[in-house]
């Protein structure tokens, strides 16, 4: 260890040695606590410490902090050091502050004052210390305090170069925290002209600043392009001796070159001026030429610096995407790197080539390297390099090489790293779909995916294959045959069972002619997997079985047997039990015609953008390599246009029906499927989603507040109050997801003739519902006369880009306008007799919900809004009620009697009112509710 110049601090060195000599973590902590106590007492003590001691203790605290311990004192002492007139003390003070002080510290005003003093210093070393501190912690406070001084320092002729350099980067830091501090006007040109400064260090620092300013305001700083091009050109053509110490391992000014190349990438096209453009192209060519020259040194630093400039030049070429000649040269250069010894270069070359693959000029060139890239995917030792190779293969894939690339990716998938499998599966699925010329190939690929990497095949992937098979008649028989064969493997993935179950349920008949795949064989094959599957898959299989009854009446008894087995308690899952018993009943009760209608083949799915692509985009935001050739900005003729675009076998059309591909297979985001599939959808409708939402409306007959609707995305709560003929509901929409819901529009569904009877006023809501947020919507109602049914709301919104639609009934049922009426037995029975005509009374008998709950029934009736009358009916079990429905035009008196029959577990419900329509409506509401 060499002796260090400057003044060492012996106490600090001793302390550090002590720490290093500690044998255990405990000993270290003990030593540190001792030291902290010592420093604390020194700082608190009566004796005033001299600057050296303060510096030493502050430095010790810093060391303790860097070891990972918390430091909660000493800040004040550090700030004191700033105003010391000794540089060494000042410097330690600044270091402590830059490491340990937060921008919102209450010491910040003291710090700012010290910095101000140091900026005024005549010693540039002091000024630099202050500038570095601002650049280290640059807060908004600092931006305000120094927005005048620093720009002046930067452009003033008197400022020394070292100070200018610091000032440029200091200003950059302040600009990042407060963009408004940059002065405009004449400053713009003065700042730009720093690119011409004689001092390379100043130019380097200034280029970083200008790059940030250009990003904010490209027009204003446009003048920098010409200067940057000419500076770059001078550097690139300079001999390495010209730039003296700014040459790095024989490469002239690599940092400045890279910065200038980055700066130019802010403009597209880089320049309109032919002269500048020519000079730039010439410079880029020079850089490409130099890459071919023999290296001037064997050191890796030389090649790194040289290639850093080369890669940045290639980035600019790709960014401009207008010079076919340069693009092709860039591609060849990168191709050479693919077999370079240096892993770093291979990694970067693969990455850069991804971008070249999406340019129409270089796409064909990139394809020439396909063999090497496939080898990289298979042979590279480093998974991150293999990942780059996969990305590149994905990007370079087109109709011409799709079959080969997909096959190679499938082969590799068998041994691929777990960390990249899921993404590879998505990529294979997308490529297979996009470039399928015949669908048998597509079906093969996807089934292979499931076979090889079943665990990584997400729902979206297998939904998609089913969609495509259903939509393309020519492949249905093949799909049924292939999936049937795949299912014969002794161990096959559950996803295969799902796809198999679905496809055979729809198209099993197409292969039933072959005795090897006769109906019973198909059924037995599927059922042999049943017990190994999750409830979700079992539910799907049960649906397949009922479809089989329609397709193959001859195996009806076998299937009914299975349904029977699972329709009772032995089937632990309530949903499966219910499904089995319903399907069993359906198969017994329904005639062949009805069965055929209910179980008709699935209708085609609406064509839409592949949902898989979205999954990939979500997985890697901002970094998905494209598999889409860009349209070039240059008018130059292209020889490869047949490769670009129009590769979509499936027209990209989004439909409103977001649930379409999820029909009956998934946990749909909304369980209120509005698609026009009718009965079939309901039969297959998924029950593992948040069910029961629609039925909640029934509960609101008896209560005014609660959750009206809930699914994975949305919860809708209700608070309501009613007085006489008026009512008011507050709907509370709560977004349960991590994403905002947009275009959120509730619209009222209430026919005009009904509106005459019950008028509804809907308050507007914000169209955007933020993640986790809740908004409220008030709805007011006024009853003019009695009415049936209740209004509903069609709620539409976009979630993750897909349109969702939910229909919810509003709890504005007629009973809400009940006014409870007290009366005694005599009054009650007198009126009861008066309302005896055929039109005035309605009676229904229904089975009680088991177990029969009389107290619960009484509660419900009170909640219903009608008065429960005590001691009126001679039979104490009977419940009698009275109420008046208040509307503006009519008042309808209403009597009710509910008679339980405990033995039979039945209820008899009688409603009598002065108006037939009301009698009927109230009776319909209450039937089956107890």
């Amino acid at each position: 260890m060499a002796p260090v110049r400057g003044d060492g601090m012996r106490g600090l060195a001793v302390f550090i040695s002590d720490i290093r000599n500690c044998k255990s973590k405990e000993a270290e902590v003990k030593r540190i606590n001792k030291e902290l106590a010592n420093i604390r007492s020194k700082f608190k003590g009566d004796k005033t410490l001299d600057g050296y001691q303060k510096k030493k203790y502050v430095c010790k605290l810093l060391f303790i902090f860097l070891l990972g311990h918390d430091i909660d004192f000493g800040h004040m002492e550090a700030v004191n050091l700033l105003s010391s007139n000794k540089y060494s003390e000042k410097q330690i003070g600044y270091l402590f502050i830059s490491v340990l002080v937060n921008t919102n510290s209450d010491l910040i005003s003291l710090i700012i004052q010290s910095i101000k003093n140091d900026l005024q210093s005549r010693n540039p070393i002091h000024v630099n210390l202050a500038l570095q501190c601002i650049a280290n912690i640059g807060s908004r406070d600092m931006a305000e305090s120094f927005s005048n001084e620093i720009p002046k320092l930067l452009v003033s002729g008197d400022t020394m170069d070292v100070v200018k350099q610091s000032a440029a980067l200091c200003l950059l830091r302040l600009f990042r925290s407060s963009p408004e501090i940059i002065p405009g006007g004449e400053w713009t040109s003065r700042i730009i002209h720093l690119l011409n400064d004689q001092h390379m260090g100043v130019v380097t620092a200034a280029t970083s600043l200008i790059d940030a300013l250009v990003k904010k305001n490209p027009e204003e700083y446009k003048g920098c392009v010409t200067l940057a091009v000419s500076r770059l050109s001078r550097i690139v053509t300079a001999s390495y001796t010209d730039l003296q110490d700014y040459t790095y391992y024989f490469v002239p000014a690599p940092w400045l070159s890279v910065k200038l190349l980055r700066l130019l990438q802010n403009y597209n096209p880089v320049t309109e001026e032919p002269g500048v453009r020519a000079r730039l192209n010439e410079t880029l060519e020079t850089i490409l030429n130099k890459a071919q020259e023999p290296p001037k040194s064997k050191k890796v630093q030389h090649s790194n610096a040289k290639n850093a400039v080369l890669f940045e030049a290639i980035n600019l070429i790709i960014h401009s995407d207008s010079e076919p000649n340069l693009l092709v040269r860039a591609c060849n250069q990168l191709g050479q790197f693919l077999s370079n010894r240096e892993t770093n270069l291979r990694y970067l070359a693969l990455e850069s080539m991804c971008h070249l693959a999406t340019s129409e000029f270089s796409h064909e060139e990139v394809k020439k390297h396909q063999e090497v890239v496939i080898l990289s995917m298979k042979m590279e030792k480093d998974v991150s390099v293999r990942q780059q190779a996969v990305d590149l293969l994905y990007a370079m894939c087109d109709r011409g090489n799709a079959e080969e690339i997909v096959q190679e990716m499938l082969n590799y998938l068998e041994t691929a790293d777990y960390s990249i499998r899921e993404e590879m599966v998505l990529k294979v699925a997308i490529l297979a779909e996009k470039y399928a010329t015949d669908y048998t190939w597509y079906v093969d690929v996807i089934l292979n995916l499931i076979r090889i990497a079943g665990d990584y095949v997400s729902e979206e992937v297998w939904y998609r294959v089913i969609q495509i098979v259903i939509n393309h008649e020519e492949v249905q028989g093949y799909a049924a045959k292939t999936v049937f064969e795949a299912l014969q493997a002794p161990a096959c993935h559950e996803n295969m069972v799902k796809v198999g179950g679905y496809i055979l349920g729809e198209f099993g008949n197409l292969i039933a002619g072959d005795s090897r795949s006769a109906p019973l064989v198909q059924f037995k094959l599927l059922h042999s997997k049943y017990h190994l599957c999750s409830p979700m898959t079992r539910a799907l299989l049960l649906s397949t079985y009922i479809k089989f009854i329609n397709l193959f009446p001859e195996i009806r008894t076998n299937i009914q047997e299975v349904f029977r087995q699972h329709s009772n308690l032995r089937s632990a899952d309530a949903e499966l039990q219910q499904r089995a018993s319903e399907y069993l009943q359906l198969s017994i009760v329904a005639s062949t015609d009805v069965l055929a209608t209910v179980l008709e083949e699935m209708p085609s799915f609406p064509e839409r953008e592949s949902s898989i692509l979205n999954v990939l985009k979500k997985k890697k935001p901002g970094r998905v390599p494209e598999n889409e050739i860009r349209e070039s900005k240059s008018p130059a003729p292209s020889s490869v246009t047949q490769n670009s675009h129009s590769n979509h076998k499936f027209p990209l059309r989004t439909t409103n029906n977001a649930n379409a591909d999820l029909l009956g297979l998934s946990t749909p985001p909304s369980n209120n499927i509005s698609a026009g599939g009718g009965a079939l959808i309901d039969v297959l409708g998924d029950i593992y989603g948040a069910g029961g939402a629609v039925n909640n409306i029934k509960k609101f007959l008896f209560k005014n507040n609660g959750v009206l609707f809930e699914n994975d995305i949305l919860q809708i709560g209700v608070k309501s109050e009613f007085r006489k003929n008026m009512g008011r509901i507050g709907l509370f929409y709560g977004n349960k997801t991590q994403n905002p819901l947009t275009e959120f529009t509730p619209s009222l569904i209430w026919p005009a003739d009904q509106e005459q009877k019950l008028s509804i006023l809907l308050e507007g809501v914000e169209p955007r519902l933020e993640a986790g947020a809740q908004i409220q919507q008030m709805i007011a109602a006024e009853a003019f006369e009695d009415y049936c049914d209740s209004p509903s709301i069609d709620l539409s919104f976009k979630y993750n880009g897909t349109q969702q639609k939910i229909n919810i009934k509003l709890p504005f049922t007629l009973n809400k306008f009940f006014e409870p009426t007290e009366m005694n037995a005599e009054q009650f029975f007198a009126r009861w007799k008066n309302l005896g005509s055929e039109q005035q009374r309605a009676q229904r008998v229904f089975k009680a919900q088991t177990p029969m709950d009389l107290a619960g029934a009484a509660n419900k009736l009170s909640g219903f809004g009608i008065q429960l009358l005590e001691n009126v009916d001679p039979n104490p079990d009977n419940m009698v009620c009275a109420g008046i429905i208040n509307t503006i035009r009519v008042q309808v008196g209403c009597l009710m009697r509910l008679e339980p029959n405990k033995q039979a577990e039945m209820f008899r419900l009688t409603i009598r009112s002065s108006k037939e329509s009301v009698t009927k409506e109230i009776c319909d509401m209450l039937v089956d509710q107890f």
Partner: protein, 157 residues
């Protein structure tokens, strides 16, 4: 722009940390822990770059010390390796065959040298000569002060 630079030993001990973005201490510790583990697990021949969260990591090992930088997506990886190398050269020149112990015992110097090379995550001065000159004049100033202090102490001025 460089987001931060970490120096840590083969045993995973942090020797220097420089943050150019403001993070709470807790997050800094978490990031450091994760990165140290990730990088120490990598084999020698592996590539020096990795994708990590929203940024890119560039690292290189010199003797027993790992130098690890986080840069933004658009930054140049190869040149970041050379920033590391330039810093190592500067340390080497200043301490004379720098070793881990130099950085432990003179961590403040290591910081001062870094501040002359990079400011706010951007390269300030790429010339080795100029950086060393700046550090030398800092040291000179300190020595003058020390001499002056000693003279004051013995009552000569």
């Amino acid at each position: 722009m460089m987001l931060f630079m970490l120096l840590f030993s083969r045993q995973g001990k942090l020797r220097l940390q420089k943050w150019y973005v403001a993070h709470p201490d807790k997050l800094k510790k978490k990031i450091t822990r994760e990165l140290v583990t990730t990088i120490l697990a990598r084999k020698p021949k592996m590539c020096s770059f990795l994708e990590w969260k929203e940024c890119k990591i560039v690292y290189k090992r010199y003797a027993s010390l790992y130098f690890c930088c986080a840069i933004e997506q658009n930054d140049n990886e190869l040149l970041t390796l050379e920033i590391i190398h330039r810093y190592v050269e500067l340390l080497d020149k200043y301490f004379g065959s720098v070793c881990e112990l130099d950085i432990i015992f003179n961590f403040e110097k290591a910081y001062f040298i870094l501040d002359e090379l990079l400011i706010g995550g951007e390269m300030q001065e790429t010339s080795k000569k100029n950086v060393l000159k700046a550090i030398a004049s800092q040291d000179l100033l300190q020595e003058d002060e020390a001499v002056e202090g000693a003279l004051t102490d013995i009552g000569l001025i």
